[in-house]
Symmetry: C2
Subunit: 293 residues, 2 copies
């Protein structure tokens, strides 16, 4: 008992140290848990680490120091007038546009026949008419025609995609895609006369170097891609709406895009090859996608 009593201060000191160690390790492990959750490719294999909206990122206080640019303080408002069609014309136009777009299919067999560059320019201009959060127009369309660059893109994508298929995606997704006869061999990346790589600018830069917020940039750029797909279909060109998983950083370096640009989609564009086939899919009927009230 005397031994014990003389040791009491030592006990207390030891216990204090223990508390310290425990506290520290608890913090560490909770941090670790957090980052583990973040880097868990097995459970959410379709998350491209590079494909995060700026809205997903934790915004540092520094990043708040942004300015809006491009519009004057009191921008003038001007009268708006639109084409006015009769009801019959509207119905006819809406039906014809539906029939045109309903023939669109994702086509993986693309001919190497040349496509007029003017048409490509026009479809990109059309995509650029898309609305965007606070009119930031946060898109860059990189149009690759050079065969060597196309081949380098193919190499990067096939390399990463093979890893995706073999490791990252998990059996289930691979199984899902197998039914669509999708794999990591992407011949169309060489044969298609144009590859359109669509980057979202997660933020912009002002002339003074400050960051400019790009609100809802991923939704905005995806909407622009929808308009681009419609424009391609309208001229008889085909594409594959592809999201090259985890290739963003390497492709960004290859194409010399700056750090604020993240690859959202890659569209190989051309005429369908003569022997092109597509999976015999159907689309949901109107009643399955629309709720009227």
């Amino acid at each position: 008992m005397v031994l014990f009593s003389s040791l009491t201060p030592v006990f207390i000191a030891v216990i204090c140290v223990l508390i310290g160690i425990i506290l520290k390790s608890t913090r560490k492990s909770s941090k670790k848990e957090k980052s583990d959750t973040k880097n868990k490719p097995e459970s959410r294999p379709w998350v491209d680490e590079d494909l995060r909206d700026s809205t997903d990122l934790h915004v540092e206080e520094d990043d708040i120091d942004e300015e809006w640019q491009g519009l004057d303080e009191n921008i003038a408002h001007v009268p708006f007038s639109a084409e006015r069609y009769s009801e019959d014309e509207m119905i006819k136009r809406s039906k014809e546009f539906y029939e045109l777009l309903n023939k669109r299919r994702t086509v993986r067999f693309i001919s190497d026949e040349p496509v007029p560059k003017e048409v490509i320019d026009n479809v990109i201009k059309t995509a650029g008419t898309s609305p965007s959060g606070a009119h930031t127009e946060p898109w860059t369309f990189v149009v690759v025609h050079d065969p060597e660059i196309k081949h380098k893109i193919r190499e990067i994508i096939e390399e990463e995609e093979e890893v995706n298929y073999r490791k990252r995606m998990g059996d289930k997704w691979v199984h899902d895609l197998k039914r669509l006869r999708t794999n990591w061999i992407k011949e169309y990346l060489d044969t298609a006369p144009y590859l359109i790589l669509i980057f979202k600018q997660v933020y912009g830069r002002l002339p003074n170097g400050k960051k400019k917020t790009h609100y809802y940039n991923e939704i905005s750029v995806s909407i622009a891609c929808g308009i681009l797909l419609a424009a391609l279909q309208n001229v008889g060109l085909v594409t594959v709406t592809s999201t090259p998983l985890n290739c963003g950083p390497r492709l960004r370096v290859l194409l010399q895009r700056s750090a604020n640009e993240k690859l959202l989609l890659l569209l190989p564009v051309g005429y369908p090859s003569k022997d092109a086939t597509v999976p015999d899919l159907t689309r949901k009927p109107l009643d399955d996608i629309m709720v009227a009230m």
Copy 2:
């Protein structure tokens, strides 16, 4: 000293309890920190808490137990043929489509004139031709024509938007939007003959109740919205591409959507009102949005 020594076991017991309490509170506070970070509207005000892609969500092990449905194991492939236009026709079509789409503007002054329902059906059908990750078609278009429901939607949105403007968005964003003359009064929600609320299905349900993964659902649904905007422009209707911040849950309840559906966009649709004005904006020229190589 004797007093101390006899108290040693008590000390140890007290210290053990203390350790327990400290550990517990550390965990709590680290959890609290986490959720604080999550709900930090000041630093990233444009994040709608309800508007997260399923790809952002932590996927529980349970959720992995999903199946692909709708396609047979070995789905047949069928020959594909596309409309083939001459080069001149392609250039002409691409130019005309650009000119049509370039007249599209976001219009906040919408007339209450009735619009043929058949046209609305056709534009929704057109949006439904959009590609989607693994052909999941993860969209629901809720088309509201009923004046009472429209008014309830307006009440919810104006209520939340006023809070957004006054508190959540921060001075900078409000300042940015002021230049576009945007505020929380949304008259068009009453006057527009149709409100189209576009929900992304972050996952699907199989007949057996299991969850079905919806890969890249936000990108897919946004692409469908791009096609929808093109279809609306094609018939002379106008809209506002709006993202009602933080209204998703209340609107989901009002419109009786299930938990897997998250509001992505709301489009009020109609003819422009006679005195409609738009801000005198320009779009970036082709050279600013396209990089050719």
